[in-house]
Amino acid sequence: MSSSSPGQAPNACRLVDYTDLRKEITYDDVEVLCMEALGFPLRAVVVPSALVRAAVRALRGRVAVSCPISYPFGTQSPSVKAVEAAAAVEAGATELEIVPHFASLRSQRWETTRAELDQIARSARGATLKLVLEATALDAETLRRTCAIALDAGYSFVSNTIGFRLVSTQPETVGAASATAVRDLVGLVPPGLRVKAVGGATSWAEVDQLHRAGAERVAVLAKRGILSLPLEGAP
């Protein structure tokens, strides 16, 4: 890529959470992911909790390491999420993507959700916290209340989707990022809480579009070549 040296990297690079949560990810994949992230440099790499230490070693503090907690469905008890969060921070993660217990949200058990988010935040020891929502499965009022609780609990971001199919037999239930989805979520979050766009961004044009819609982070899925696109036209 002719314009990819770190000195020329545009601000768009600082929006990108370069993400590889594939089940078949290898240590070599983590190496490649980190080398590519360092080349721009990007804002963060996102890897599963078992691979945080490998990513931290490769990035040596020059790019943040983030990992999802209780990915993808958030079905663990809060105490289990707290252990995964603490272990990830101990391994060097400085950002965490927390998947809440969605059924509690859908049942409007706000105190349960508040206690869960608080417990995880306490275990995260200062890491940047991103709450992973599933906007298509939650109504606007539920999203609004949840975002308010997240802000109170010290979370910095909310994202629009887990990016994984909700129903095992229905691949079409994977959430996606769109300018509309981001704008809708931006309209619901209180001041102080930012939006991360998750789901399907594979080009700088899409990063730009989602940023213009209000996203301050964009998950870009790691596949060889995606970030080898020309940077011209990036914001």
Partner: protein, 234 residues
Amino acid sequence: MGRTEDGNRPPQNLASFAARMMSATFSPAAAEGEARAFLHGFATYPPVNAIFVDQPWVSLAREILASQGIRVGVEAAYPVGNWSTEAKVAAIREGIRLGADEIDIGSAFYAAKSGRFDEVEEDARAMVGAAGDRIQMMVVPETAILTSDELLRTLEAFARAGVSGIKTSSGYGWNTQIEHVLLVRRVFGSTFTIDVSGGVRTLEEALGYFAVGTDHIHASPIFDILDEAKEHWS
């Protein structure tokens, strides 16, 4: 209800068939009311073996299912996996604390795909230690992403670590093939209890898996399959 009533002989009637079937309801696909309705739906069938739920729903599920003799399971590092060993050990301990009968848990897929089977073994050994004999644990090698060599080396690592039961795949598009069960039975004999998950949609498919030595089957369309079974054995 015991976990395995008939060894791995194919079921001969509706009751023995149901007793070897499993299913799950996870959020965010199901809100609590929907999960309750799903769990109550089993009352009109002979008892299935187990239903898997979110950890926060274990007590609710036990309340609804225990009187029917249906076991309650939880999952961890599932269906995507690659969680830290610390997180998985914590999930097993929490499953025990909650009173779950079974936990199905993903192995270190990244290590297997990287050829680091010593790490697969180390991770499995930690999980076996946490589970002890206090909860049935089924470890997922994820047949759908492994070559035959990787699968066999993963299962060798499981055996060294003391894993006694495997769940072949996670579903969600990661499906099992009948050849996987045949291979594992041929190479490992009765070392492992084998539960199949991923892609079983009909009674015919389920019976095909039982015929080659499968112990239990997880199926999303559980009520459709039970209805077929009712008709088959009526």
